[in-house]
């Protein structure tokens, strides 16, 4: 079946700002006068748990992306990229933060901690763009803007104009943080252009 729109799944850990990232993409769609649908995790599941935001650009019907059909997976955590990688279509792309937060379950239940190189190995089955978003965010002036760095890095893979995305960043973040978030977006963009 031919898909009409472009489906983006953003994943991470509750508190990392997936909801703001989804708001920015939605705003960019409005700027370009395109339909957009999305779905996200609220409530109890947000407390440090694994969270997901679906964004369907040009989506007119349901808000959920079917597994195996996402065009783009953006992950704010390396382990979460692997957890959701089955959502990606065969020739889809993963853009992920290289940083990994070990789930508390590893310590509490004495599970084997997943190794970063093994995760990266598994992710390489797909087109992969790996970047140290923490470092890029810190260099851009705010360690909390990892979410905006990640959007910047993935922006060239989206069917949205960079200027729409940048304007959406300005409209969606708190006023006091516009400058630092614009910097974070641009730094992410630069990193995204060079990552393989």
């Amino acid at each position: 079946m031919k898909k009409a729109g472009f489906d983006i799944l953003i994943v991470g850990i509750g508190g990392q700002g997936t909801i703001l990232a989804s708001n920015i993409l939605g705003e960019a769609c409005l700027i370009e006068k395109r339909h957009v649908q999305g779905a996200e995790t609220h409530g109890m599941a947000q407390r440090g748990g694994s969270v997901e935001s679906h964004i369907r650009i040009d989506g007119k019907y349901g808000p959920l992306i079917a597994q195996g059909t996402a065009d783009l997976l953006i992950s704010f955590d390396l382990l979460e990229a692997l957890r959701y990688s089955h959502y990606l279509k065969q020739d889809g792309t993963i853009v992920t933060n290289s940083h990994l937060v070990l789930p508390t379950s590893v310590f509490m239940q004495n599970l084997e901690a997943p190794r970063e190189d093994a995760i990266i190995g598994s992710l390489k089955k797909h087109r992969l763009c790996l970047l140290d978003a923490e470092q890029i965010a810190r260099d851009a002036g705010n360690p909390l803007s990892v979410n905006v760095v990640m959007l910047g890095a993935a922006s060239r893979l989206m069917p949205l104009k960079p200027e729409s995305l940048l304007e959406a960043v300005r409209r969606s973040v708190p006023k006091k943080t516009i400058d630092v978030n614009v910097k974070a977006f641009e730094a992410g963009q630069a990193a995204g252009n060079t990552c393989t």
Binding site: M1, I13, G14, S22, N23, G26, E27, C29, L30, R34, H35, V36, Q37, G38, A39, E40, T41, H42, G43, M44, A45, Q46, R47, G48, G49, S50, G59, K60, Y61, G62, P63, L64, A66, Q67, G68, T69, L79, E80, L82, R83, S85, H86, Y87, K89, L102, P103, T104, S105, V106, F107, M108, Q109, L111, E112, A113, P114, S122
Partner: protein, 590 residues
């Protein structure tokens, strides 16, 4: 007209502002909470708004306002409607003069709930009209129009979005916000508002007589439609209708149900134009049962013959699979995608520095082999710490505890309940336990806020929904007034002192209450309260694992099995008090 990218609940709140609404009540519950959160944070308000103590209280307040001729909204999650069921059932008899919209948000798949009940069944049971949106735009338009509909029919209207409407986002066309000029006036009419037997028998008859006019009106308004395109018919409602639309072949007819009760003659006529019917709806077979009644000998597929699941939520691939099985679609266009196996799970956990974790730790140390009934709130996550043995519904920790204590079960019983849940439905159970002489301990986890649903204030917070100061209730005084003589307040961060009080409670008979008081770490952070962070001195750490077992997300284990504290530390200091080696110390500012 404005176009915005909004959360379903934001769009619903906006629809209420366009109506406009005059009076808003509700009790927080996922996925419904953001509607009032949006309405209470509006800069200019021409309406009254409150967070009520529970859903029954909320509905009775809203009903009274609607009796005064103004427009009222009452919001809750599906299980809240159980609490409000008493006024709900009879509100259909009394009817309303001002529009009353009862939003009961359902949660298929129980993303954040204790069950998967279907509010449409309540509408059916109460003989009230019910609106069931399939998109965010529809949710916005429906709730806006539900107020005048309620006035026209003289009945409360149940508005039933699901999680995938409330917590989805989309581009929504919005209308203008208007401020209300309605004046409340209660016109005395005992035959309508005093439901003594002589009155209520007549009211019941009138309600029944109204039903066929209600059904006809809902068809006229275009909430239920059928587009005939072939011999096969798919009937769908709610978000399932959106999934069907996305993959529907051109030669298949589609009927969309957006409002109940469904007019049987309309339904029969539309269904009988086809040779077979497939009914796709989430949760209860509410539509399917009616379709089966009018379909005659025609084959009907749905839940009752195993085509559609009764439980969980639907999705594009699941709906496609159902359509393939029913012969409507040739093959499922969605691939079988399998998640990577054996990854360590990342469930939601209590925050670093959460008072609940400290209190649970102390409880487990002092009451080793006890039974631990608990309740609905963030602290249900204490399940991961082995200190939650039961949850059933709001307020039931105390009643389950007294039931177990009275059953003859020999173990100690100590239950946990949050401040908001205690005020919601906990107090009658406490009174009952004291009155009937149970031996048990109640721990009220008092973080002064309704945290799990997004930090809504409650009567214990000292603030109203609009941020005005209010007199906070005294949990101590309430417990004493219920007849409890052992009422102690502890700071759970002081783990030694807390354990001492727990030991005292354990040695006594009767109902004992311990109030564990500490701000929610999230509200404390927002209020600008800063505590210094802690760190582990690697030379002193003996890698004993005591702090790791505490389960705080701020404490990680290094490759050498030693502990290390990460950026999530909020400075509660509990781990420092637990460390037998004294290796955890306040971080020194460099």
């Amino acid at each position: 007209m404005e176009q915005r990218y909004l959360l379903g609940n934001e769009a619903i709140a906006h629809g209420c502002l366009e109506s406009p609404v005059d009076f808003v009540t509700g009790y927080p519950g996922t996925p419904s909470s953001e509607v009032i959160d949006v309405l209470r944070s509006q800069k200019e308000r021409s309406y009254y708004i409150e967070w009520s103590v529970n859903e029954k209280v909320a509905l009775e307040n809203a009903l009274a306002a609607a009796w005064c001729g103004i427009r009222a909204l009452c919001t809750m999650k599906h299980v809240g409607l159980n609490v409000a069921a008493d006024p709900l059932m009879t509100s259909a008899y009394t009817g309303v003069t001002g529009g009353l919209v009862i939003m009961s948000a359902d949660d298929p798949f129980a993303h954040s709930s204790q069950n998967e009940q279907d509010s449409r069944c309540y509408a059916h049971f109460a003989k009230l009209p019910c609106l069931d949106p399939s998109t965010i735009q529809e949710a916005h338009d429906m709730v806006r129009d539900a107020f005048p509909l309620s006035e026209e029919l003289g009945l409360p209207v149940i508005f039933r979005p699901t999680t995938r409407i409330c917590h989805s986002k989309g581009d929504v066309r919005l209308g203008n916000i208007i401020s209300s000029a309605r004046k409340a006036e209660f016109k005395k009419d005992p035959r309508q508002y005093v439901v003594i037997p002589a009155h209520t028998r007549i009211l019941h008859k009138k309600l029944n007589e109204k039903q066929s006019a209600v059904k006809k009106r809902l068809v006229e308004l275009g909430y239920n439609t059928c587009s005939v395109r072939g011999k096969k018919l798919i009937v769908a409602s709610g978000i399932a209708a959106s999934y069907v639309q996305e993959i529907l072949p051109d030669t298949v007819s589609v009927m969309k149900i957006g409002a109940y009760p469904i007019d049987e003659s309309w339904l029969k006529e539309a269904v009988r134009k086809h040779e077979s019917v497939l009914v796709i709806e989430e949760l209860a077979p509410e539509i399917e049962e009616q379709v089966r009644q009018v379909a005659g000998n025609m084959p009907v597929h749905g839940k009752k013959d195993g085509y559609v699941p009764y439980e969980g939520e639907l999705s594009l691939p699941v709906v496609a699979g159902i359509m393939v099985k029913a012969g409507v679609l040739k093959k499922n266009p969605y691939p079988d995608a399998v998640p990577v196996p054996n990854l360590p799970v990342r469930p939601p956990i209590l925050c670093a520095g959460c008072l609940h974790r400290a209190m649970f730790y102390a409880i487990k140390r002092v009451y080793k082999d006890a039974i631990y009934p608990s309740d609905i709130g963030c602290y249900t996550l204490g399940l991961q710490l082995g200190v939650v043995d039961t949850t059933i519904c709001m307020g039931a920790s105390i009643t389950v505890a007294s039931g177990i204590a009275k059953s003859g079960e020999p173990h100690d019983v100590i239950c946990t309940i949050g401040d908001s849940t205690f005020l919601h439905t906990g107090i009658p159970g406490l009174m009952n336990a004291v009155y009937n002489g149970a031996d048990m301990t109640v721990v009220i986890l008092d973080n002064r806020i309704t945290a799990m649903t997004g930090h809504q204030p409650n009567p214990n917070t000292g603030l109203t929904a609009c941020g005005l100061e209010s007199i906070p209730v005294s949990l101590e005084a309430i417990c004493r007034a219920c007849g409890v003589t052992f009422v102690e307040t502890v700071d759970p961060y002081d783990i030694t002192g807390t354990m001492e009080i727990l030991k005292q409670a354990k040695s006594r008979k009767g109902v004992k209450v311990i109030i564990a008081k500490q701000l929610c770490v999230i509200t404390a952070r927002r209020a600008g309260i800063k505590r210094g962070r802690y760190m582990v001195d690697p030379d002193t750490c003996t890698a004993c694992g005591t702090c790791i077992k505490f389960g705080c997300p701020a404490i990680e284990r290094t490759a050498e099995e030693k502990a290390v504290i990460n950026d999530l530390c909020s400075g509660c200091g509990v781990c420092a008090r637990l460390c037998p080696a004294g290796a955890i110390v306040r971080e020194v500012k460099r």
